[in-house]
């Protein structure tokens, strides 16, 4: 299967936080772990989220081999195997590896894998009103970003 990824074009993020609530709802998470989070630094907004890195620091750091990739390169945590050591939380440069204190396990974005298998889109992308959350094959994301850059230059 083709590799999939997700990218937030942060310039277009207007800080509505809809993605955060959509994600919590989709994953049944309560207050605490935030798999996607938008930090406000008025007038800018900084989205923090999992990039499903090619060489994922969380996977490298995990001493229990609880972090793996599926056939679409989505980086996943096996909660059964997780020993709750926080090594991935420390290793992630994006603050995207989170810890669920209720269950004592690390949690992270699974790119709404189940929704993708059903032909849907990630919950965060579905909610976003500026459509700044793009996902799909890596090549198609690159192409979209390039198209957008070209459109911007034509506008000015």
């Amino acid at each position: 299967m083709d590799r999939v990824a997700l990218l937030i074009m942060s310039e277009d993020c207007m800080g509505c936080h809809a993605c955060e609530v959509a994600c919590k709802q989709e994953h049944g998470l309560d207050v605490g772990p935030r798999l996607i989070q938008v930090v406000e630094r008025a007038p800018l907004f900084v989205p923090l989220y999992c990039h499903h890195c090619s060489r994922a620091p969380c996977q490298v750091a995990c001493p229990a081999d609880a972090i793996s990739r599926d056939d679409r390169d989505i980086v996943l945590i096996d909660e059964e195997a997780c020993i709750g050591c926080l090594a991935c939380v420390e290793a992630c440069p994006f603050g995207a590896a989170q810890f669920d204190e209720e269950r004592n396990v690390a949690v992270k974005c699974d790119l709404c894998r189940e929704r993708l298998l059903d032909g849907g889109e990630p919950a965060c992308a579905r909610a976003c009103p500026t459509r700044c959350i793009v996902w799909g094959g890596v090549k198609s994301i690159s192409e979209r970003v390039a198209r957008r850059a070209a459109a911007r230059q034509l506008m000015t």
Binding site: M14, G15, H17, V21, V31, A42, P43, A127, R131, M155
Partner: protein
């Protein structure tokens, strides 16, 4: 294991509208998401709508009617609750007259028509809503100017967007949602932003006009001055369709750019440039926000923006500000039975003689009600029925509001939670959320759609607001004017469309075919049939028929005597993306995002007072003192402090729930000297304040 059903409905987390797919399993909503096929929202949803399951299933939500007794709140039946209210109201009508009962709602919600139907049949002219300073004030001002409310036509491909005191991506702009604004913008428009604060859009804008809060009318006069001076207006339109042009021109000339710069703090070169871009880029639309309505300049600000739309040829033109053709359903005024309110009762409307435009749109200004409760003048108001409103937090001069509501002999409140206002009630009626109701959604709006909302679940003994008014009405001798069931009432609303509620639900929404420039056939719906830049109605009612700028009553200009003690302009009412007015603070997902009320100050202001970013600070006005957490923002003027509104704490001790801790309306004033003369709009936005660090916090 039960199957998960997906049910199509529409949200009402804010004013409402966005299409939703609700996922229901074993009688419980497990998830909601946007409906990609819906014309409102287009598949997106905001944080508030997405968090509805945490609202509907909140452990502190009240799920049955209650009566306040000596030993606290006690559960009662719907029959007991409605009979009690009906008995008490009948007693008031016999002793004082129906006008001594105030019926109220808060922000615009689509039960307005049921509420008005009940109040008009009851015979009380005293209906208290937010309308005197929010939306209805705009509807009123535009009705008398051009016959209808002009709405941004984002689908009509505007080439220039002027965002005037609004953040359509965060706050609900009453008609369309931000997603349509964004789609229009992405097609490549010019963008002008008028805002005292550098937000997301101001940062992207080609031109950002950072005005002194509350001076929008003066800035609009500056725009008009440039357009007239440089001949950038549509001469043919003006000649054929404008009433009072010469007098209007004379008035505009009283505001040369130098004077406007002095009033607004906006560089006159920038005003000139912005006016040129707006007037010469066709089509252009103005997306206007509510702050311009919440000062002494409410009516005239609205009229001046309408004048800009009109004379540039953008009124009812594709991509401009248009009059959407309403869908074929009964309108609010007809369903609300405004004509059935007896003339002698209408004449008793509190403040009706003074605020004639408000009276025209069936509103009272809140202070007239508080005064009648507290002083008995001009007659006593002794009982109330409030639905979906928390005036202790949302109306100006909160301390007076609290005192007045506390003094009522009898109060019934319809809500989800025991708010600081509900705690003052004698009877609490539990309202259904939008997941638990059938309705013709967005019925009151002017965007050309109605959206089907259908009951997805039932929770506790909650009733939808509409049913409460219908059933209470039947107990008050209004049987012949109501229906056996709510669905019958909805069928009546939908009758002109030729379909019943079930057919409507199957279709999802109704929209009429849009037609532009309708004035070419039938003129404008005003007394002269033209756009009345000189208002014959304002003149008839004894107001200035031409728009002007009035200085804000409590500003460094008008009250230099207060400047030493209160050196900053407080721009009150900053919106957050995760709460709607005073709602949602108890929703865990939303509160995690915004745990505390925020006051934004410039880094230089913080330095001057020794305040750190993230520290709690006291904000003080001549009315009182509150505290909020400081967020530094270099994108506001160092002379301005910007504070959030709507804060109270369900988790804090009952019955107060901390209503006076962070509530910005402890600071605002409701002195009638600061009201819009025709509309009675309260100044909720601009006042003087000081700021100082909270110690030990």
């Amino acid at each position: 294991m039960g199957e998960t059903k997906q049910i199509r409905t529409s949200c009402r987390g804010c004013h409402g509208g966005c299409g939703v797919i609700a996922h229901v399993k074993e009688g419980r909503v497990t998830k909601v998401e946007g409906d990609s096929e819906a014309p409102i929202g287009r598949g997106t949803m905001c944080s508030k709508g997405l968090a509805v399951t945490q609202l509907a299933y909140h452990p502190d939500r009240i799920l049955y009617p209650m009566e306040k007794t000596d030993s606290g709140w006690e559960r009662i039946s719907w029959d007991q609750a409605l009979d009690t209210i009906a008995d008490r109201f009948r007693g008031v009508v016999e002793e004082h007259g129906a006008e001594s009962i105030v019926v109220g709602q808060g922000t615009g919600r689509d039960y307005e028509s049921f509420l008005y139907r009940f109040a008009n049949l009851l015979g009380t002219p005293n209906v208290l809503t937010a309308g005197h300073m929010c939306y209805v004030s705009r509807v009123g001002a535009t009705l008398i100017t051009c016959g209808n409310l002009p709405v941004s036509d984002f689908e009509g491909e505007p080439k220039c967007l002027v965002v005037w005191a609004n953040n359509p991506l965060w706050a609900n702009p009453d008609e369309y949602k931000g997603v349509d604004f964004w789609a229009a913008y992405q097609k490549g428009t010019r963008l002008i932003v008028i805002d005292p604060r550098e937000g997301f859009l101001a940062k992207r804008a080609e031109l950002w006009l950072q005005l002194r809060p509350g001076t929008d009318a003066a800035l609009a006069l500056g725009f008009l001055n440039v357009i007239l001076e440089e001949g950038l207006y549509d001469e043919e339109f003006v000649e054929r369709y404008v009433h009072g042009w010469e007098a209007f021109v004379d008035r505009v000339e009283e505001y040369p750019l130098g004077k406007v710069e002095e009033i607004t703090w906006v560089d006159k070169g920038l005003i000139r440039e912005a006016a040129r871009v707006y007037a010469t880029t066709k089509p252009a639309c103005i997306q206007w926000g509510v702050p311009i309505e919440q000062t002494i300049n409410c009516t005239d600000s609205n009229r001046l923006l309408t004048a800009l739309m009109a004379i540039t040829g953008n009124l009812d033109a594709p991509g401009g500000n248009v009059f959407f053709v309403p869908p074929p359903v009964r309108v609010v005024s007809e369903f609300g039975l405004h004509r059935d309110l007896p003339k002698e009762q209408r004449a008793k409307r509190l403040g009706g003689d003074q605020y004639k435009l408000a009276s025209r749109v069936a509103l009272v200004t809140p202070k007239a009600v508080w005064d009648a409760i507290l002083t008995g003048e001009p007659y006593p108001v002794v009982a109330g029925l409030l639905c979906g409103t928390n005036p202790v937090v949302t109306r100006a001069n909160a301390k007076e509001v609290h005192a007045a509501l506390s003094k009522l002999e009898f109060l019934a409140v319809i809500d989800f939670f025991l708010t600081p206002t509900a705690e003052l009630a004698d009877i609490f009626l539990p309202a259904a959320t939008w997941l638990e109701q059938d309705y013709v959604g967005d019925f009151w709006k002017r965007h050309g759609y109605v959206m089907a909302r259908q009951k997805v679940v039932e929770i506790g003994e909650c009733w939808q607001d509409h049913k409460i008014f219908q059933e209470l009405g039947k107990r008050m001798g209004q049987e012949e004017h109501w229906w056996a069931t709510l669905e019958d009432a909805l069928n009546y609303m939908l009758e002109p469309s030729g379909m019943d509620f079930r057919e409507f639900v199957r279709g999802g929404y109704l929209k009429s075919e849009m037609r532009y420039q309708k004035y070419e056939e039938k003129g404008f719906s005003t007394p002269t049939g033209k756009v009345e830049l000189y208002s014959t109605l304002l003149e008839k009612w004894g107001y200035d028929p031409l728009p002007q700028y009035r200085e804000i009553p409590e500003s460094p200009v008008s009250r230099p005597d207060l400047a030493e003690q209160y050196p900053y302009i407080l721009n009150a009412g900053l919106r957050t993306p995760v709460f709607f007015h005073s709602e949602h603070r108890m929703i865990p997902w939303l509160r995690e995002i915004r745990p505390d009320p925020l006051v934004e100050i410039h880094p230089a202001t913080a330095k001057r007072h020794g305040i750190e970013d993230g520290q709690w600070a006291y904000i003080e006005s001549p009315r009182g003192r509150i505290k909020q957490r400081v967020k530094l923002n270099s994108g506001i003027d160092p002379r301005v402090v910007v504070a959030e509104h709507g804060w109270w704490y369900l988790e804090a001790e009952a019955p107060d729930h901390g209503w006076d801790v962070s509530n910005v309306n402890v600071l605002t004033d409701n002195d009638p000297a600061g009201y819009d003369p025709a509309m009675g709009s309260t100044n909720l936005r601009v006042l003087l304040c000081s700021i100082s660090p909270c110690q030990n916090e």
